[in-house]
Symmetry: C2
Subunit: 132 residues, 2 copies
Amino acid sequence: MADKKRARVHVRLSLPNGGNLDEADIALIETVHKCRSILGASKILGLSYRKTWLMADALNRTFETKVLETFPGRRGGGAEITPFGERLAALFRSIERRSSASAAAALGELTASLDWSFAAEEAGQERKAKSD
Amino acid sequence: MADKKRARVHVRLSLPNGGNLDEADIALIETVHKCRSILGASKILGLSYRKTWLMADALNRTFETKVLETFPGRRGGGAEITPFGERLAALFRSIERRSSASAAAALGELTASLDWSFAAEEAGQERKAKSD
């Protein structure tokens, strides 16, 4: 999923009401925006429907304004993201971009210090986990 | 553990050799630096000895230079972080500080949009989880 060829900063936000916002939440918002369905998004993201629904529900309960709207009565169900959901995704992606930009020099120094024999072993484990 | 009163950016680094670096790794480095023992650090961090040892081992295998040195032969065992380990922690903390600073405005906007009734429920769950 991620670009494995370069070092990357991954961001998670912890919010003062106990809520959290991470890459998976934003991927859900963006995927629902494209496919307009929680079930469709769960398939694209490789998550169970239950897990996807719980993520959407937690997002909606974290903020005063809904992030996603679901239409269970509509033919084929369906979901849409709200303008606030769009803003949320944009804010998160902006935080990610700024974090990556400000970390560039440090990531370069870390990358220059890597042991590349670590790679084969871990990649093997990851391929195995993914193929299960 | 974290300051719950304000929004925070949490950083994880994925490295191109398959390695990862997160807050828990840096807390381990900093705790070993203070208490000079893997076992001592595991107790302070509330982790199993096995988990702590595996984290230390993964850190050492991720980079060309050791992050932590262990002295199993020494009276009482003991561990120390290397100058490279110190540099690693400093780089990570610097990435965190820059990410937080660059996210300040976005975090303010998100915090202003929070549903505070979410807080009681989640805090209750968290207290329960911590007391188990």
